[in-house]
Structure formats: C-alpha cells, structure tokens
C-alpha cells in the first residue's frame, strides 16, 4: 500500500504561509487516497511559484516552459496512456501565457488533471496582475489599478462543457484532497481551480478574504445540471462556491482514437511490412 511517506519530503522555496504548501499536501493525499504510486504518475508544470510544486514530491516530472504545461502533458498522455498525467501550475501560466492551450484542452478532453494554483497574481515575477486579478488591483505594473475584467476559468470551462470542473481552496486541505481524488478518478479532462493566498503579493485576496467567502456546494447540488452549474460558475464576490461545479461523461480523446484504443503508443511496434504496402501505392 502506498503511503504519504512514499511521496517524500522536500525543502521548498515558498514563503511561509503561502497557499502552495497546502496544495502540495492535498495533492499528495489525493494521490495516496487514489492508491497511486509515484512511478505511475507524471507531473507536468510550466514556470512560476506554483510550477515548482512538481519538484517537491516524488514522481515522474517534466517541468517545461511558462504557459506550456498543458501541451506537454497532452503529448505525454497520448504517448503513454498508462501514466496518470497531472498539470500543476499557476493562474498566469495556465490562463494567461497558456490561454489558448487551456481552451483547446477543454475541447479535446484528453484524460488529464489540471490543478491551477490561482493566487490571482504573478508571484514569481513579483506581483504583476494575472488574468484572474480583480479589477482595480494596484501593482507596480498597473499603478492605476487593473482595468481589465478578470478571467473566469470556471465559467469558461462550464460554458465549453468541459468534462470535470471544480474549485478548491488551499485553506480546506481535506476538501481539496477529495477533489483531487475525484479528478484523478474522472476519465477525461479535469480542471481544479484552487484559490491560493499569496502572502507576499496579494494583500487583497488573503486567506481571511477567501475563508470568509468560500462555501461548499450543498449535498443536493447536482453537478450534471449544466444550467445550475453555469449559475454557480458566475457566483463570485460575497460568496464563492467550492466543489465539483460541473461534470459530464463525454468520451475522452483517447477513447475515440482508433490507434489509442489499442493501447499506449510507446508500446506499439512499427511494422515495416505495412509500410512496404503503403509505398507500393506510389508505383
């Protein structure tokens, strides 16, 4: 049986009190609760404070470029479907620099779990606005306050009928670990947007700020009801819903692909006899 110790303990480069510590803890618990061993998973990240997560637990890891975690994860999953592939990166990385990949991933529905550490700011580059920064937020780069409307990843994902859309909060580790477990068990693309206080650069959306507003979706909430999900997805401000907001049973990309249906690409052999036949058609 796999235990949390199997995932190791590493020294991190995060500030004390940063929400990333709890997300890391929840991730390990979610993995252990899913009975997954380190060698069975592949963690993919981009660049940012959040992206460092993948270096703080034992697993297969690919730490790529800022914004490009999702395409790397997609390629790796298509190459070896036996791997549980998890993206862990920030809001800037996934929704800003990698925005187009996020949209494409919602549509493709490759079996990935995407954990977005959403601190509503750029941590690593010291406090500029991110796509989810709220209006009016003042930074050195936006001295007059952010004028753009914040990106709503949950609403976009639900609107696109992504197959699993959830929100967690780093301040509720048990709940988040449960969401991660559910996401890992879900077949298809699973988004977990995780509210994460950044103690150094976000003095507005603090731990207390989130704590005051976040509430768990009630037991009777039906995440398969798209209309209801759309309503919850738009809820932000005084009250912020947490939990699985929307899910469906769309077929995965892999299940629709004639080659992938036969098994992992990496285990496939090239048959040159077949190529011989293909080349005959050129004569």
């Amino acid at each position: 049986m796999v235990s949390i110790e199997d995932y190791g303990q590493f020294e991190t480069a995060w500030c004390p009190g940063c929400g990333n510590h709890s997300i890391l803890e929840a991730l390990k618990r979610g993995l252990v609760d899913s009975g997954l061993e380190p060698y069975q998973i592949l963690l993919v990240s981009g660049i940012g404070q959040a992206a460092k997560t993948v270096h703080y637990l034992k697993a297969n890891v690919f730490n790529g470029l800022h914004g490009r975690a999702v395409p790397v994860a997609s390629g790796a999953k298509l190459a070896n479907q036996d791997l549980k592939v998890i993206v862990a990166s920030g809001d800037g990385c996934n929704y800003g620099e990698g925005g187009n990949h996020f949209l494409a991933a919602l549509r493709r529905n490759i079996d990935l779990t995407m954990i977005v550490h959403n601190n509503q700011v750029y941590g690593l580059t010291k406090g500029q606005a991110s796509p989810t920064t709220q209006e009016g937020f003042v930074t050195k780069a936006q001295p007059e306050g952010v004028a753009s409307l914040p990106f709503n990843p949950i609403a976009v994902a639900v609107a696109m009928q992504a197959s699993f859309v959830a929100r967690g909060f780093s301040g509720m580790i048990d709940h988040l670990a449960g969401l991660i477990k559910e996401a890992l068990a879900h077949e298809g693309f699973a988004l977990i947007d995780v509210l994460q206080p950044c103690v150094s650069f976000n003095k507005v959306n603090t731990f207390a700020w989130y704590k005051q507003r976040c509430y768990k979706l009630p037991e009777e909430y039906d995440p398969t009801d798209w209309q209801a999900a759309m309503q919850r997805a738009m809820e932000w401000g005084d009250r912020i819903p947490l939990g699985i907001i929307y899910r469906n049973q769309r077929p995965t990309f892999e299940s629709r692909h004639s080659v992938l249906k036969q098994g992992p690409l990496v285990r496939g052999k090239t048959d040159l006899k077949k190529l011989e036949k293909i080349m005959d058609k050129f004569s």
Partner: protein, 561 residues
C-alpha cells in the same frame, strides 16, 4: 522525329483540375519508364489565380527543372499570354478552340465537342498523352486507379472521353516530336519531397506528429495522417505552433518518436520550444519547409532563406543538426537519419526543405526497407538501478535515457538548469558542468555528419556550391558548362550544420572560381562557411523571386556577372 526530353507546362486557374491532369501524366510517364521533375507554382487561393504544373520528362535521369517549354497546355487564355515567350523552338501550345488563338504553333482543341465541360481535364489528358507518345492503356489505367473507385458513376464516361480525345489528336497530323521510348524501364515510384519525408519518418518508427497547418509543410502531416491508423501513430492538429512543438516534446519525453512539420512563420513561434528540447535533452525532429518571407511573404512559392533562422533558433546554447535534402531520395534517407541523430544526441534535429522540393514529384527507385531499423527511444526495460537520474555526466555528454512509467524508476526532466537528478538548481558550478555536458554531445553529431557531395572534375576551374533543394540545378548547370577547356565541379551540402571543414575546405581552396548558388538574398550558406572557415566565395548566384533555381538561371547569372 522523337525528342530526348519534353518539358510540359499546364497552366490555368485554381479549380480547373490542372493538378489532376499533371498527376495522371506524371504517373503514366513514370510507369512508362521515364524520369520526371515536377515543378508546381500556384497562387495562394483556392479558385482563380494563375497556377502551373510543369513536368520535365526524359528517358535519361534528370534532376532539375527546365525553363523552356516544349508543350504548353493552356487551360485559359491568360496562360498563353504569360508563357508564350518560354516556348522552345519546335514547341507547341494546346488551346481551346473557344480561345480563338491564332498562331501556327497552336493546336486548337474543340474541348466541348469532345466532352462536357466537367470533363475538360480528361480531354486535355487524352490530347497531351497522345502528343507525348504515351500508350492509351497506360493513361487509362492511371485514370482508373485514381478515380475508378472514387467516382465509379463517371468511370466509364471518363474512359470514353479519354479514348476519343486521344484518337481525335492522332488524326490531326500535329507536327510535334514525341518522347523517345524510355530505355531503362523498371518499376519506379512517383513521389514528391514531402511524401518522402513522411515515408522516411514512418520507416524510422515515428509515433507522434503535431502540427498547425502551414504551406508548404502541411502535406507532411497529411501524408502521415493518412497512414496513422495503419502504422499506429497519432497525428494531432494543435491549436497553434507553440502547442505543436510542446506536445511533441511531451510525447517524445514519454517515448514516442516525434516529428513537427512547419514553415518559417510557424517555426518562429516554436523557437522557445526548440530551446526546451535542447535543455531538457528531448529528441525531436522538426521539418521547416521554407517559403519566401519575411512575415507571410509569398505563401505558396519557394525560397531557401531560413537557414540562419533555424541555425540560430532557440535562446541559449545547445547542439543541433540541420539536414538539407537535395532530392526526393535524400528526403527519405535524411529523415530517417534525423530521427537517429535526434535519438542519439537527445535534442532537436532539423530538416530544411522548401516548396519546390515539397511539391516536386520525381521517379525514384523503390526504397529497400529490408533490414532497416526503427529508432531506439531509450532503455525501456524495467531493470534500471534505482534511484535513476536523468542527467548523469559522462564523457560523451549523453546520459542514458529511461522512459517515465515504463518501470519503477522516476524520470525528472525539464527546462530549468538542473543537477543530475533533473530537479531545479541555482548552483553555478553545476551550471558550468551541465553546459559543458550538453555541448559535448555535438561531438556525437559531428561524428555522424553527412559529408557534402563532391561531383564532377577534380580541382575544377569552376566549382558550383549549394545546399538543399538546389542540388539538381547545379549538377545540370555544371554539365552544360563543362567543356574541353573548362573543368567544372559541384559541391552539395545535404547537411548544413554542423560543418566539418576537413570534409570540404580543401575542395574549395583547390578550385579556380568558387560560386555559391542559393535561393536567398544574403547568401546564407556562403556567410556561414566564411564564418566557420574564413573561406570567401568568389561569386554568388542568388535567387529570391519566389521561383526555384534552374540550370538556365545559373548559366544566365554566370554570363552576366
């Protein structure tokens, strides 16, 4: 009278079916034992514009396009006006009676009498087949192979119109010398450069291709997609080129040999990914099919102006190899080689081709697949000593590669500087070791470099030098320039990086006049050779008007300068 060779040019608007006529003629010619060189030129539009499909055919091996046209098939009046100056002595123009063209070198074909409008390309096919001296059965078979199954309802009609048009032409007493029968008839394949790249990749064991459509690279991905289910690979159209290269890196990291076809603008978007492949030491084959830039340039024409872009692409320093095939055969073999070098050196390897070769169909000997091996993607067995580290430092710079999820080991890789375990480091002494380790891999690449091909006279008075797809043009120009008093040699680079001066510098130094011939305005190979060796070319013949370099172009340029 018979001709040793015929250069045929079909011109018309997009949507008139000229490519269909061209392809069926090409197929029939190759099956009849002829060698061909196809040159396609088209406007960036789906209907209208002026497009051409040229076939130079000969019973002897030919390797370059020719400018003078012996048989002009004008599907619209504009073609006559645009190309009449190119008609050779003894040349003939085929027009529709309806064009009311008056010239004794014209064959007026009553298209609408021979077949309804939608069959006019079959009429043209019949007429031209007769004039070339092709056997009717041969052309009929090509037509049936192409459309018999696809459109069975018109198959009979197609055949009937083909026969009638062929016979009609045979009764016209046209004064045009057909092709002399081919002497070396054997089974050959009709294949263009991009098809050969796709076949080469399949033979190497490619398992993953991600791309974003861009002419003239798209057909590589389409050719792979057509065989994906048979050969067991995934071809995915990515949301953009940045995604394409990063997906391929992910797939390759996980163990699927991967290829990314693109063209200049798309490649420019990929360059951060090139750097990631270098840093993470992930094997990757990138095909850059060139077209004229800057920016969107001339989307459907040809150029060789991205050598410097590819050579310098990606920030930071890491080894790479750049292949530049000069023929369809080289497209196949060098693509295989690119996969091998990528796997061995664990990094990015490039194939530089261009629109001319991408679309240039030729008659080639079938590739012998017997005994060919697919690329090795790392040690996959479960027997690794644990813990496994991805980047241990060895003399060669190459670290044994295991695949994630194929055993109990863990693979940690990435684009940040790392110690041997693949995790993050900011230890500057580790940095120095790692830079040196990565750069040492260049020696492995150098050991595998394909030497430039030296042909023609030794210690020549005139040496023509080129790279990539201009190979055929310098070979044929050299043959024309060679005479009793002038010794002429050629040097062709099918790999432009790394350069190994011992392989060619002496040849350059021993020649009288050394001319670099390239399809760009800077003389990029000439600059590169000067940078690497100090050798200064005496002359440059450059072309950057969007058309491929021909032997005639070289001869004219040498006379002028």
């Amino acid at each position: 009278m018979e001709s040793k060779e015929i250069n045929l040019l079909i011109g018309g608007e997009a949507g008139q079916g000229l490519v269909t006529i061209g392809e069926l003629l090409a197929k029939s010619l190759v099956r009849s034992g002829y060698f061909i060189v196809v040159t396609q030129s088209y406007h960036s539009r789906i209907r209208g514009g002026h497009n051409t499909y040229a076939i130079r055919a000969s019973g002897k091996k030919i390797v370059a396009p020719r400018e003078a046209v012996d048989l002009l098939v004008a599907l619209n009046p504009e073609t006559v006006a645009l190309h009449k100056s190119e008609i050779s002595a003894g040349g003939l123009t085929i027009v529709d009676t309806a064009f009311k063209t008056t010239s004794d070198k014209c064959l007026q074909v009553p298209y609408l009498e021979l077949g309804e409008k939608q069959f006019s390309n079959v009429v043209a096919l019949g007429v031209v087949s007769f004039l070339l001296g092709l056997e009717l059965e041969m052309v009929g078979k090509a037509l049936d192979d192409a459309f018999g199954k696809k459109a069975p309802e018109i198959a009979e009609k197609n055949m009937q119109i083909l026969q009638e048009s062929y016979r009609w032409c045979s009764h016209q007493g046209v004064n045009f010398s057909k092709l002399a029968p081919a002497s070396d008839i054997r089974r050959r394949l009709l294949m263009n450069g991009n098809e050969a790249i796709a076949m080469g990749a399949l033979s190497a064991g490619v398992k993953f291709c991600s791309f974003y459509p861009m002419t003239p690279a798209t057909s590589i991905a389409l050719n792979l997609a057509a065989q994906a289910s048979t050969m067991g690979l995934v071809v995915e159209q990515a949301e953009d080129e940045i995604a394409a290269i990063n997906m391929a890196i992910g797939a390759s990291f996980a163990g699927a040999p991967s290829i990314v076809p693109t063209s200049g603008g798309g490649f420019a978007l990929m360059t951060e990914g090139v750097s990631l492949a270098g840093m993470s030491e992930t094997p990757l084959v990138i095909v850059v099919a060139q077209r004229p830039g800057p920016a969107t340039g001339l989307p459907t024409r040809t150029e060789q102006a991205d050598l410097e872009l590819v050579l310098h692409s990606g920030h930071g320093e890491f080894p790479r190899a750049i292949f530049s095939p000069g023929t369809v055969e080289e497209c196949f073999w060098l693509t295989r080689k690119a996969f091998e070098v990528a796997a061995k050196s664990q990094g990015p390897v490039f194939i530089l081709t261009d629109q001319f070769l991408a679309d240039s169909a030729r008659a080639i000997e079938p590739f012998d697949l017997e005994g060919l091996e697919t690329v090795r993607v790392g040690i996959v067995e479960d027997s690794a000593d644990l813990p496994y580290f991805r980047y241990p430092i060895y003399e060669s710079g190459i670290s044994p590669r295991l695949l994630p999820g194929m055993g109990k080991h863990l693979v940690v890789a990435g684009g940040d500087e790392h110690p041997i375990d693949g995790h993050l480091t900011e230890d500057l002494s580790v940095r120095k070791f790692m830079v040196e380790k990565r750069l040492r891999k260049e020696e492995e690449i150098v050991a595998e470099v394909v030497p430039p091909e030296i042909q023609g006279d030794e210690k020549p008075d005139l040496l023509l030098v080129t790279w990539g797809t201009t190979k055929g043009a310098i070979l044929e120009a050299a043959a024309k320039l060679r005479n009793d008093s002038t010794r002429v040699g050629t040097l062709h680079f099918s790999q432009v990086w790394p350069l190994v001066p011992q392989q060619f510098l002496e040849v350059l130094q021993d020649a009288g006049e050394v001319v670099c011939v390239e399809g760009n305005a800077f003389g990029q190979l000439a600059r590169l050779i000067r940078r690497e060796t100090g050798f200064n070319f005496h002359r440059r013949v450059l072309r950057y008007d969007g058309l491929p370099i021909t032997p005639e172009y070289i001869l004219r340029a040498l006379e002028r300068s």
